[in-house]
């Protein structure tokens, strides 16, 4: 369950404002691709174009191509809802549904879509997703408690379990650890390393060490100035990017000279 995404000449707009310009990128299956860059350079915006969450914002739209499975995600007749079932997403802040129990949160993708499921299948899915998210042992005795009763790190892992319970091909993570403490961060990073055996993962992070630790490929985004569009400056294997980047700006950013 993992797919490759070929992005070519992709532009993302907020109304008249061009936020990300001309991105060409190949996202390999069963790898972790990290997107780094200074704040406001369009990493998150680009990430959200990959499962058509960008256009949820009023006035926002995308031009260009993002081809997964030979199918352009922005092609005519493509239903964004279908895209999102294939490409899951984990957000910056943990956002479990406050009205649902832990179990229902994991099953949210099924329940909210009005699909029926046998009790045994549902139990199996809950256990599988929570185990995959390294949360099963912590919550197995209180599955009926509200999702908001968990700690921040647990909530984020619950959100990951919720995202993988719909069995997507690709998992997008938008700074999944920025609201978490170092121990929870470590738990999530371990989880990412395990998940990459089954999923294609794209992660946006502000933490260079994290990118170096978890990712196989790294893309560096930069912006020429406020109000200018963000660009993908360079992309390569993580080891290459962090040792011998070809572009000066990448080296400056990675070594902490700016940004």
């Amino acid at each position: 369950m993992s797919k490759r995404i070929d992005v070519s000449d992709l532009n993302a707009y907020y109304g008249d404002f061009l936020a990300v310009e001309g991105v060409d990128m190949v996202i390999e299956p069963r790898t972790v691709t990290a997107l780094i860059g200074p704040s406001g350079c369009g990493k998150s915006t680009f990430l959200r174009t990959l499962n058509r969450m960008h256009e949820v914002i009023p006035g926002a739209y995308v031009t260009g191509k993002a081809v997964m499975d030979g199918q352009d995600l922005y092609g005519p007749g493509i239903d964004p809802v279908e895209v999102r079932r294939q490409v899951g997403m984990v957000f910056q802040r943990p956002n479990p549904f406050p009205t649902m129990s832990i179990e229902d949160n994991v099953l949210a993708g099924v329940k909210l879509n009005n699909r029926r499921m046998k009790k045994a299948d549902a139990d199996e899915l809950v256990e599988g997703a929570l185990t995959a998210a390294n949360l099963w042992n912590e919550v197995k005795d209180r599955l009926d408690r509200p999702g908001s009763s968990l700690s921040g790190g647990q909530q984020q892992r619950l959100c990951i379990a919720r995202a993988i319970a719909v069995q997507p091909q690709v998992l997008l993570m938008d700074e999944p650890c920025s609201a978490l403490d170092p121990i929870s961060t470590l738990a999530i990073e371990d989880l990412i390393s395990e998940l990459k055996n089954d999923y294609t993962i794209v992660i946006v992070t502000h933490n260079m060490q994290q990118a170096a630790r978890v990712s196989d490929r790294t893309g560096f985004f930069n912006i020429a100035g406020t109000g200018r569009p963000g660009h993908l400056i360079e992309m390569d294997d993580t080891t290459t990017m962090f040792s011998t980047p070809t572009v000066k700006a990448t080296e400056d950013y990675i070594s902490g000279r700016f940004g």
Partner: protein, 349 residues
């Protein structure tokens, strides 16, 4: 080099003992009473009014001399806020007290279960059963129309509406919130006059009139509640591949249901006591009218108005009717609270 002020130890401030404000309060009230003895003798309202002024000045001055300027300002602000609270409470308590004490003479099971058939002159019998049924009918019809209409309208405004149309609706809703209730009554009256002719009288006309008043209130409050639902939850649902309409039904409405219930109850409470539009649309009747689509029907506000206008023993029935109305609104509120408690997310309780 910048000049750095020498470190100052944290000063201990002298505080007034906790009994001091109460002592000042008693002193102020006594002083106020004494001042009034110079005139025509003390009255309760006079003592409290003058006492409040004296207390405000006295506590501020005392605090200033003992505790210093900052704490005296705190005392002054606390006193003023508390006084404003008490002032706001006076009409409320007085209203409840008057309705209770005047309404209790006639209120009881027989008042709730009899109508006004065969009651005339100075007879003390008779009740408001027909008016209770009428109020429930008319308000029920208004609710059946307004609640779905208002909720759908609010969903449109929050989730779908953008551009001119949404702005126009918002402005219209705001204008409609402010229209005088008599205008709503005249609207419903003329509407049915054109459709069914002058002879037609029915509860439904009153229901339509109240719906005109109720819809904007529902729209406003539901809109506020839907806007309170964090966008993150909508995005979380979208990211799971949930279509927009299911997200609205199962996440947005479900999360906001407690607030929506409260808003709807406020809207009902707003129209249940309306008199003017019902006077011209449904009039008054002496007996129970079980048919919402034919004939005049009595409602509690109109009943109260009529009974009070007649005076004598009828005035007692008016107070009892007012008490009944207040009890109905209270019961509705209680139900709303239970519903919103049942639905609100755990931990947020």
């Amino acid at each position: 080099m910048a000049v750095i002020a020498p470190p100052v130890p944290v000063r201990r401030t002298r505080r007034l003992p906790s009994w001091a404000p109460w002592a000042v309060l008693v002193g102020s009230l006594v002083l106020a009473a004494l001042i009034q003895f110079l005139g025509e003798g003390p009255t309760i309202s006079g003592v409290f009014f003058i006492g409040a002024i004296i207390f405000t000045i006295a506590i501020t001055v005392t605090s200033r001399t003992v505790e210093g300027e900052r704490l005296s300002k705190d005392r002054l602000a606390t006193t003023l806020v508390t006084l404003a609270f008490l002032l706001a409470l006076i009409p409320l308590v007085s209203l409840v007290w008057t309705v209770l004490s005047d309404g209790i003479t006639r209120f009881g099971p027989s008042f709730l279960s009899t109508d006004m058939v065969g009651v005339f002159g100075n007879m003390v019998e008779g009740g408001a059963f027909h008016a209770i049924i009428g109020t429930l009918y008319v308000t029920g019809i208004a609710s059946i129309i307004s609640i779905p209409l208002g909720i759908f309208c609010a969903i449109y405004l929050v989730e779908y509406g953008k551009g001119r149309l949404a702005k126009a609706i918002t402005v219209l809703v705001d204008v409609m919130t402010g229209i005088p209730s008599i205008v709503a009554g005249l609207f419903a009256f003329t509407l049915f006059l054109i459709l069914f002719g002058p002879a037609y009288k029915a509860a439904i006309i009153g229901g339509i009139a109240l719906a005109v008043l109720m819809t904007p209130v529902v729209v406003r409050s539901v809109e506020e509640m839907l806007r309170l639902v964090p966008n993150e939850l909508r995005e979380a649902a979208y990211a799971l591949g949930v279509p927009k309409w299911l997200t609205i039904v199962k996440v947005v409405l479900r999360t906001a249901i407690a607030g929506i219930t409260t808003g709807v109850m406020i809207a009902i409470a707003r129209v249940i006591g309306e008199t003017a539009p019902l006077l011209i649309t449904v009039g008054i009747a002496q007996n129970v009218n079980w048919d919402a689509f034919d004939g005049r029907i009595a409602t509690l506000p109109v009943y109260v108005y009529r009974q009070y206008a007649q005076g004598g023993p009828s005035a007692d029935r008016a107070w009892a009717g007012a008490l009944t109305l207040i009890i109905i609104v209270m019961l509705l509120n209680l139900v709303a609270r239970l519903v919103s408690r049942y639905f609100s997310p755990e931990g947020a309780r």
